[in-house]
């Protein structure tokens, strides 16, 4: 047998081998439904949102089930007041706060097998509700009235929505009652309907933002959802235009945007969505065109006629190299400023929203740690609450930090360190807490902003910790990333 023959023989063997493996896999794996994630446990949490945003009572956390250890991801709602009290009670006297966890009373401690050095408190009432969703959720958004959650779920290639009782945080995404443990059914996991227009939902949803058509677009009814798709697309959905509406309605999509889209943010003033790209120096911008109306009939018609308009990308010029941006936030004071988390360079870019030449007008480049990922803005009181200043919180996944930047003074102020998988951030301006979604160890870290606020109030920095927010404890038991199973 010559060399060619040997190769052919080898190829045949490979093909036969693959077929056998494929048949075995098809026989053995498809019928195995896998196991549900344990109740009360986060597994690679990737997104979180608080409700109501100005005075949060509830925290919703989406777990991605990133390693597919379980057969689904999940969404949990937590009572923030209970969490705060529990952390004081359980972790107040624990010196090393990373070794102190609180868990919902429903959690199965035997299955979690916490380390012997971990102080653990099982807390009744901490978790309000939990539902199971598809794996690889990548974002979460809640309607302004707190009654519906939206999640882009990549394994379903669709938008999952969950009905919520805003006052209690109880969730429902099936025929089961609010608050009962349940798995979201098909109608909630791929439940879009389309309008009369010939639009189809692109695949690979990665980010979502939701808002009210009433407050943001001047209609009398309804909500909207913008969903970014990794493959250069953006979708617009409208929802709850009438009480009988059960499902979001897809009204328009637009493609041809930059590749590797990561997140989406909407400026309600200009009705323009900014969508950063992890692969190019372009930030896509799309206007959401919905005409205002003061009556329900026209409002519904206008919502269903809504369109997306590509106003052209902005190039992140003037920085080295500007090809990987992760999140955009608009200055809440409406001064036309925009803040962008960039990975090349590793920095928070402060820029002008308005531009006349297609280039992002960057004013300042403030360095942050490695792997900057997500951004939150918060106005913090200063000078005895007589004034306030806007701060940016930037999670840095690779350097395991959260950087805190005084954007008005364009000065990096302090940072929280040792946060192994810092990713999504939620700020509680009432309790002065920063909740950091720790993707790597599947916990939420609750940090006290008190030391920072005290410094802003004029107090001298703590001799040991300076003005750095201090860790109060963990929600969940830290879990090291394991091999794929």
């Amino acid at each position: 047998m010559g060399l060619l023959g040997a190769l052919r023989q080898a190829q045949r063997s490979t093909v036969v081998g693959l077929l056998v493996i494929g048949l075995w896999c098809g026989h053995g794996c498809v019928r195995d439904e896998g196991s549900n994630p344990p109740l009360g446990v986060m597994h690679f949490p990737i997104a979180a949102t608080a409700y109501p945003p100005e005075a949060p009572e509830l925290l919703y956390v989406a777990s991605s089930n990133f390693d597919l250890l379980y057969n689904s991801g999940s969404v949990q709602s937590y009572d923030l007041e209970v969490l705060d009290t529990a952390l004081k009670d359980v972790c107040g006297d624990v010196l090393q706060k990373t070794r102190c966890s609180v868990l919902p009373a429903e959690a199965d401690l035997d299955r979690l097998r916490p380390s012997a050095v971990q102080t653990v408190g099982l807390v009744p009432g901490l978790q309000r509700s939990e539902v199971l969703i598809g794996s690889f959720a990548d974002g979460i958004a809640i309607t302004p009235d707190g009654a519906r959650l939206y999640l882009p779920v990549r394994s379903d290639a669709n938008l999952t929505f969950i009905d919520v009782q805003p006052a209690t945080g109880l969730m429902r995404c099936s025929e089961s009652a609010f608050g009962e443990p349940q798995r979201c059914t098909e109608s909630f996991r791929s439940g879009l309907t389309t309008s009369t227009r010939e639009v189809t939902l692109p695949t690979d949803p990665v980010a979502v933002v939701a808002g009210s058509l009433v407050t943001d677009f001047g209609l009398t009814v309804g909500d909207y959802v913008l969903m970014a798709h990794r493959g250069q697309s953006l979708s617009l959905l409208v929802d709850r235009l009438s009480p009988s509406d059960q499902r979001p309605i897809l009204v328009d999509t637009i493609d041809g945007l930059a590749s590797e889209l990561v997140t989406v943010s909407l400026d309600p003033q200009t009705h323009t969505a900014w969508i950063p790209s992890a692969l190019t120096a372009r930030i896509s911008r799309v206007q959401v065109a919905i005409a205002p109306s003061d009556n329900d009939t026209d409002s519904i018609a206008n919502a269903l006629s809504a369109t997306l308009f590509d106003v052209g990308p902005l190039r992140t010029a003037g920085v080295d190299q500007g090809i990987d941006s992760r999140e955009v936030k608009f200055d809440p004071r409406g001064n036309g400023r925009v803040y962008i988390v960039s990975r090349t360079p590793r920095a928070l870019l402060i820029a002008d929203q308005q531009t006349s030449d297609g280039n992002l007008q960057v004013h300042n480049v403030i360095p942050v740690g490695q792997g900057p990922s997500r951004l939150q803005l918060a106005e913090l009181a200063t000078d005895g609450a007589t004034a306030s200043r806007l701060f940016a919180f930037v999670s840095c996944f690779d350097s395991r930090e959260v950087h805190i930047i005084d954007v008005d003074n364009e000065q990096s102020t302090t940072m929280g360190t040792g946060i192994s998988g810092a990713f999504e951030l939620v700020i509680d301006p009432v309790r002065n807490r920063l909740y950091v979604v720790d993707f790597r160890t599947s916990v939420i870290r609750s940090l006290d902003l008190g030391p920072l606020l005290a410094c802003l109030d004029g107090a001298p920095p703590d001799p040991i910790n300076g003005c750095t927010p201090s860790l109060l404890g963990l929600l969940g038991i830290p879990k090291a990333v394991q091999e794929l199973q």
Partner: protein
């Protein structure tokens, strides 16, 4: 298994958002984490000659002992004595003694101060703990913001910490990990830490070593702290220097520059620099509270310069010069530069004009310049800093690429750090000795006079785009560039390098990085596309040979411009200043879209936002004036010399489909809106368009439709919701450059008011003898077109084309300018083929070894040599 399969299918996609990236994060065991400030110390080390890693003795010595110039002398000269050995005995046999330069640096995020042995780059002596597999440095406070080591006695290092609001003194020996260093104290004694009221943003030490100066931005003051340099102790808790000095009005800059008052070397001789003029800017922040942010010491006059992030002043304090008696700072009048500033750098005195190789009466070094980063936009301004000058403090006209005339032209990056370089420049020279200038008769010296070799005085600028750029101030080698120079004759013959025939060296202009025989060309023959025809334009006629089509007419080039295309008569001219015309493609397209002016939130209305009756497109967030839109009303009253005088006004084109519900209903029962079914398909041939009578920031007053078959009311009733649109020029060519875009000088009285009318910026009037003032982008048939970069004239449409041309007329003329005069720059994140992102933070030039050092927040510690200008080391 199935889970694994799904995981593999989705894994690469999921890695992106969670950060465990596709571009793997390198885990370099020996790395610096965000170095942000630099200082230097000199260590004299005696090593065992047979085993150089064995250190027999090491001691800190004054920085000047690490002067390495003696190593650079040529063989013909007697080498200078090595200053390292001044006052020391001979090194015993079997031992080697050398002075080794150490960079002391802060790490912003780690809150540490550490060192790198610059002389022995492989040396890990700065590593304080070999047990830890990375460089271990000394912890100081949170967010170190400034660093000071006294060059005469480097025993102590002072660090200002923004986060912990203090100034800390530490033993330099400890930082350098010398053998007799005091042990690291995890709880530093209270007397080594001086708390301050607010986070300090910068720190410097006085030349006499008696005082530290600490910028307290939020307190609005500078703190003068007395110290004992011998013990490192804080003598007091600091005296507040208030920043309440009152500056004179913004001084007017000198008007223009000529050969008699400017420094330049241009070849060939017929070239001469463009004369610029600039009026002082309207000051920003005069009533603001001071916010001192960065401190610079002028070593010539012993003056402390304080930049201010809020006020348009550079505060000044006279420092004491008595080495024995501490003398507190006394305030001087601040300099009013009209804008808040960040980093500052000053030059030594340099001659006013270009010198002949033998020197001349002009060889006196009389002129000084101050450079400052404009805090509002990251640009760099240049001010007259010559004490006693009638225009002291005036911001000079130095820009010439369409960017502001009173700013250096440094590209899109934001300046972050400045440093003046003085390689080989005679120290403290009142006059420049002729032997320091390059002599054409010295073949070796003349051969070394290359654009990338820096000898003289230059400004280096670290920018956010990851580059360090160089600006010419006084080039000792300029006398060998381009050939002989005789005052009055500007002889440019006899250059050593035959390719050095086009020379453009000018003070306060970016340095050009290469020899040139021709700086500007068109890279290909201009081409035209006219309806179904296309082809290259003839160089002799400017026309298309095969068929009648619009082409180019012969023109006369403006003064100092060059003919880029056309023989014998110019057809395309360009500004020959190498810093003006970029390499870019210029398109002139008949009635083409104005870039970025379109939108999707337009609403057709019969009332304006202020209830004026008429036909309107309302889009209150559109910002039309920013994109250069003009209606006929907006250009009424312009002088005939204005390029837009008599313009008809732009046109609005509806680009959207019918609203979905309308479309659906019309499909069921065709009605009056059915005519707009094909609107999107007809955009090029038969667009739905209206003349723009008046453009405002957020609304357009519309005139008649530009084709038959519909009225405004028809369109409004069919497009009864928000409509998408674009704006095109009308009966004009839209001229755009790939770099410059749509050049214009349109603005509004109130850019935040959607009802504010677009106007031609009155602060940018046309000066008929100054092409740089022609900021416009609409070219008309048979009228010369001129902008600051190029000039040409498009001929009329062929007679077969009716007037006005039909809506589907396509006519595009394209050419590309190729400027080979690139700026000298280094990408600091690029070394040995690797490319990492860079964010320069602090440039420090060290005259002792004529090298430039950079603390880069992402690329690490970088060493740059100047002859030639190259990256020598990057340590991250």
């Amino acid at each position: 298994m199935n889970r694994v399969f799904i995981h593999l299918a989705l894994c690469s996609a999921l890695l992106t958002p969670v950060g465990c990236a596709r571009r793997a994060t390198t885990a370099d065991l020996v790395n610096l984490e965000a170095p942000n400030d630099l200082a230097f110390a000199c260590v004299r080390r005696t090593r065992d000659a047979r085993r150089l890693t064995t250190i027999i003795m090491e001691e800190l010595v004054p920085l000047e002992r690490c002067n390495f110039h003696h190593l650079l002398e040529s063989d013909d000269d007697l080498p200078d004595p090595d200053p390292c050995f001044e006052g020391t005995d001979t090194t015993p046999e079997g031992q080697v003694t050398d002075c080794e330069l150490h960079a002391v640096l802060t790490e912003l995020f780690a809150g540490t101060v550490g060192s790198i042995n610059v002389t022995q780059l492989a040396d890990q002596s700065g590593d304080l703990s070999i047990q830890v597999p990375a460089l271990t440095f000394l912890s100081v406070g949170e967010r170190p913001s400034g660093l000071a080591v006294w060059d005469k006695d480097s025993s102590y290092t002072w660090v200002s910490n923004f986060g912990t609001r203090d100034v800390q003194v530490v033993s330099t020996k400890t930082i350098l990990n010398l053998e007799d260093a005091p042990p690291i104290d995890p709880f530093p004694p209270a007397e080594t830490i001086l708390p301050v009221s607010q986070g300090p943003t910068d720190l410097v030490i006085s030349p006499t070593g008696h005082f530290l100066y600490v910028a307290l931005e939020e307190a609005g003051t500078v703190l003068e702290v007395a110290i004992d340099p011998a013990t490192g102790e804080f003598v007091d808790t600091g005296t507040v220097l208030t920043l309440d000095g009152v500056a004179a009005q913004v001084p007017a800059p000198p008007i223009g520059q000529t050969e008699d008052n400017d420094y330049f070397r241009y070849c060939p001789p017929e070239r001469s620099p463009l004369t610029l003029a600039v009026a002082p800017r309207t000051p920003i922040g005069e009533s603001a509270d001071p916010r001192p942010v960065e401190l610079t010491i002028d070593p010539v006059d012993n003056v402390l310069l304080v930049s201010d992030r809020a006020k348009p002043l550079i505060h000044r304090f006279q420092l004491g010069t008595d080495d024995d008696t501490p003398t507190p700072a006394t305030p001087l009048d601040p300099i009013h530069v009209a804008v808040p500033t960040l980093d500052i750098a000053v030059t030594p005195a340099v001659p006013k004009t270009f010198l002949t190789p033998s020197g001349s009466a002009n060889a006196s070094a009389t002129e000084r310049y101050l450079y400052a980063v404009d805090a509002t936009d990251g640009s760099v301004l240049v001010a007259d800093y010559t004490e006693g000058s009638p225009t002291f403090g005036a911001v000079l006209p130095v820009g010439s690429d369409g960017s502001p005339v009173d700013r250096l032209s440094l590209g899109a990056g934001l300046a972050r750090t400045l440093s003046v370089l003085t390689p080989d420049y005679p120290e403290d020279a009142a006059t420049i000795p002729s032997d320091s200038l390059c002599q054409l008769t010295d073949n070796d010296a003349a051969a070394n006079a290359i654009p990338t070799a820096l000898r003289g005085v230059f400004l280096s600028v670290g920018l956010s785009d990851g580059t360090v750029r160089v600006v010419d101030i006084f080039d000792l080698d300029a006398t060998c560039r381009g050939g002989n120079f005789t005052p009055g004759s500007n002889d440019c013959t006899g250059a050593i390098n035959p390719n050095d025939s086009v020379v453009s060296i000018r003070r306060n202009r970016p340095r050009i990085n290469t020899f040139l025989t021709q700086s500007l060309t068109v890279s290909a023959t201009p081409v035209v596309r006219f309806n179904q025809t296309s082809g290259a334009l003839e160089e002799s006629t400017g026309q298309l040979e095969v068929e009648p089509a619009p082409g180019l007419e012969p023109i006369e080039c403006p003064d100092r411009w060059v003919n880029l295309y056309g023989d014998p008569d110019p057809l395309v001219c360009a500004n020959d200043e190498p810093w003006v015309t970029a390499s870019e493609r210029w398109d002139s397209e008949w009635e083409a879209e104005i870039p970025f002016a379109g939108g999707g939130l337009g609403s057709l209305q019969t009332e304006s936002l202020s209830a004026e009756a008429g036909n309107w497109l309302v889009a209150d967030q559109a910002g039309f004036c920013l994109f250069g839109l003009l209606g006929g009303f907006n250009v009424a009253g312009l002088a005939p010399t204005d390029p837009e005088a008599g313009y008809f006004g732009d046109q609005l084109v509806i680009t959207g489909e019918l609203p979905p519900l309308t479309q659906a209903m019309e499909e069921l029962t065709p009605g009056p809106c059915a005519r707009f079914f094909d609107n999107v398909e007809d955009l090029d041939d038969n667009p739905v368009s209206f003349a723009i009578l008046e453009a405002r920031m957020g609304e357009l007053r519309l005139g008649a439709p530009l084709s038959n078959g519909y009225t405004f009311d028809d369109v409004m009733s069919c497009y009864d919701t928000l409509v998408s649109y674009e704006i095109r020029t009308r009966r004009a060519y839209t001229v755009t450059g790939t770099n410059q875009g749509f050049v214009h000088r349109v603005t509004a009285d109130d850019l935040a008011d959607p009802q504010s009318t677009c106007i031609i910026d009155p602060e940018k009037p046309i000066e008929t003898d100054d092409p740089t003032t022609y900021l416009n982008a609409r070219a008309f048939e048979e009228r010369p077109f001129l902008n600051p970069f190029v000039s040409f004239e498009i001929s009329a449409f062929p007679e077969t084309v009716p007037s006005p041309p039909p809506l589907d007329t396509e006519s595009i003329i394209t050419f590309t300018t190729d400027n080979r005069a690139n700026q000298l720059l280094l990408r600091t994140g690029q070394l040995s083929g690797q490319r990492i992102s860079s964010l320069p933070e602090s440039l420090v030039y060290l005259p002792l070894d004529d090298r430039l050092y950079l603390a880069d927040l992402t690329a690490g510690f970088t060493v740059i040599v100047l002859q030639p200008f190259t990256l020598a080391l990057n340590r991250n």
